[in-house]
Amino acid sequence: MATKERRENAMLASPMVLFLVAILGFPTLLSIIYGFSDTSFQTLRSPEFSGLDNFRRVIADDGFWQAAWFSLRFGVITAVLQCALGLFLAVYLAPLIRRHGWMVAVLIIPMIVAPAMMGLMYRLVLHEFAGPIPHYMYEWFGWSPAFLTYQNVFKTVVMAETLQWTPFAFLLFLAAYQAIPEDMREAARVDGTKPWQLFRYVELPLMMPTVYVALFIRFIDGFRVFDNIYTLVGAGPGGATTSMSIYIYEAFLRQGDIGRALAAAILLFVTAFVLLSLAQRFRRGTT
């Protein structure tokens, strides 16, 4: 009986498994093969096994470490900023949103715009001669910061990412905040808890699992950032805004060094896997 059930389960699951093998398994396998081969566009169909050569080249490449450092900084800073701002907005605006639900739709508008479009939009908005921000700053103060110089570009792309994705964190936190039973708040108030203490000792601990999830998601998204930065400033002067995704894209398509690009992608995948596993353990330990 159990055997029959197992067989039925296997049969029912097989279409999905086959689909996943075809869609994910084949490209993954191909990536691994190319990652360990001397591969260019000329040798796509006849890659020569080269062992760990590509990995050695990636590790010896300063550009790779520069991109890794950029992605790590960008991922951490944007995730923290978005979660802090999102949390503040969710808690601060919750009473208002309870009365005017339509405000949520307005607040999440930036999230609806495609990141590549967002990059192009900032390219226009921040241009010294075409953008409204520099234009009015010149009009009013006779001066405007150059948003995209080497000195400012990191802050600018962090700001652009934060403005676009804070609404995502806000939505998660708003849902978590609204899910806190009202009687818990009432009980705390009856005990004389001040608003700040209510947030610090009752609401925040109950929202912490959501905070961890939001931080994870936003960090992953920030770490793999590509489109908005690429359309705004490209790889940046001297590679100053080259994220890991941009590094892989340029190595693959612009330099035609497919083996190195895929070796970097594999390293990125392994690192992300390890980091996420550790983060998951940490989250389990704290909740």
Binding site: F41, Q42, L44, G63, R123, L126, H127, E128, F129, A130, A146, F147, L148, T149, Y150, V153, L232, V233, G234, A235, G236, P237, G238, G239, A240, E250, L253, R254, Q255, G256
Partner: protein, 432 residues
């Protein structure tokens, strides 16, 4: 109503079937004058009595975004979706393994000239018919320069600025006589950071974004000081006095505020916008920008880029059409390409809005309709150059690497020695 829908569907299917059975399919450069010109010459070719039905040409256009990346993947995959595809000078070497050399008509030499034909050559073989030529012009505000030349009271200030920043006292000169030193002195004089009374905010705008096309614009400068990628023996010569002088000159202008501080994120569109806003006195830009800049600033004049100790040069590169090695109708495709290299086709292409680089003898026939092509042809044949190795397999990667290293120097992320060491090592790997 149903009948109408059925008829419509049948017509649509017939059109699609027609496309699917096109005997010679050409993947062209989408949008802009290149597409319009290609459509026009294709119509002429298909109407010829000597072109068989099975050799008629159909055109295929995708999108410009990521065009060359997509084309590379298609060619590498052995796609038979097109028989003829677009190529560019800097990507010939990369695409050549998936393409076949072609023969041009007997007229081709006289129509295009050697310099222009060489933009479509790799390893001594012709891989494409040159259809559009890109080079660079010096665009300048004639009203501002004329006013400066006429106002002798300003010449002392001009000389002081040149002496302070360039180490030699210069007098204002006509842009047609400019050296790069004159260009720099003019850029400094018309910048408010140097001369608070300047009528423009910046004297020039240099496209310094980490982008390979910006390197092409920059290269006219080091070349005029004798710079090249490699010598005749194949040694990498980028770490030279010529390149160092050129890079330092551009950085000096950036640091002095003669070009917008955001220039390190500028490419074609941003630079044109700055000039069009009336806040830039002169710039070196692609010839394709002529109408846009002139329309925005009617007092704009154009000339070849300034000269250096080794002469006056303009980087040229071309777009063209070549033969896909996996083409299903090679005979038909070859016949079309051969015709495309005739005087009849080149002139028709030019009349329809294309920008072929034509010899003085050929361009005369359309000089009234397209006076800009006279200038393009003249500059291409007199000042045009292609760096040694710039059509090789890894040319695109060389431009990319230079963009990364040179923009790093300009932005201050690394010093010149470091940039030179890095680029020499990278170019040695890529070209040797």
């Amino acid at each position: 109503m149903i009948k109408k829908h059925l008829l419509g569907s049948a017509a649509l299917l017939a059109m699609l079937a027609g496309t699917a059975h096109a005997e010679v399919t050409v993947l062209g450069w989408p949008g802009g004058p290149e597409e319009a010109a290609l459509r026009a010459v294709t119509e002429i070719y298909n109407a010829r009595a000597d072109v068989a039905d099975e050799d008629k040409v159909e055109l295929l256009f995708t999108s410009r975004d990521g065009f060359f990346d997509k084309l590379q993947v298609d060619l590498a995959a052995g796609s038979t979706a097109f028989d003829i595809n677009l190529i560019a000078t800097y990507s010939i070497g990369r695409y050549a393994p998936f393409m076949e050399p072609i023969s041009l008509s007997d007229e081709a030499d006289g129509v295009f000239g050697d310099t222009v034909l060489s933009t479509m050559q790799f390893d001594g073989q012709q891989y494409g018919v040159p259809t559009d030529l890109s080079l660079h012009f010096l665009y300048y505000r004639e009203d501002l320069i004329d006013a400066l030349l006429a106002d002798e009271s300003q010449h002392a200030l001009y000389g002081d600025i040149a002496e302070e920043y360039l180490g030699e006292r210069l007098a204002p000169a006509s842009p047609e006589d400019w050296t790069w030193q004159d260009f720099a002195a003019n850029a400094l004089y018309f910048s408010r950071s140097v001369n608070p009374d300047s009528p423009t905010r910046y004297g020039t705008v240099i496209q310094m974004k980490n982008l390979l096309f910006n390197m092409m614009v920059f290269h006219s400068l080091p070349r005029s000081y004798g710079g090249n990628w490699m010598d005749d023996d194949g040694n990498i010569t980028v770490d030279s006095e010529a390149y160092r002088t050129a890079l330092e000159l551009a950085k000096m202008l950036y640091d002095a505020g003669a070009t917008p501080p955001d220039s390190t994120s500028y490419e074609y569109a941003e630079a044109n916008t700055a000039y069009s806003a009336g806040q830039v006195a002169a710039m070196v830009q692609w010839n394709a920008a002529a109408s846009e800049l002139t329309e925005a600033q009617p007092e704009t004049a154009a000339f070849a880029p300034p000269s250096g100790p080794e002469g006056r040069f303009t980087h040229i590169h071309g777009l063209g059409l070549g033969l896909n090695a996996a083409a299903e109708n090679k005979d038909g495709a070859t016949a079309f390409l051969e015709w495309l290299s005739t005087e009849e086709a080149a002139l028709a292409y030019a009349r329809a809005g294309g920008a072929p680089g034509l010899t003085n003898e050929t361009v005369g026939a359309i000089s009234e309709d397209r006076p800009d092509l006279v200038q393009v042809g003249d500059y291409a044949s007199n000042y045009g150059f292609v760096m040694n190795g710039a059509t090789s397999e890894n040319a695109l990667s060389v431009y990319e690497a230079q963009a990364e290293e040179f923009t790093g120097f300009w932005a201050g992320t690394q010093d010149l020695d470091e940039a030179m060491t890095n680029i020499t090592a990278t170019m040695s790997d890529l070209l040797q």
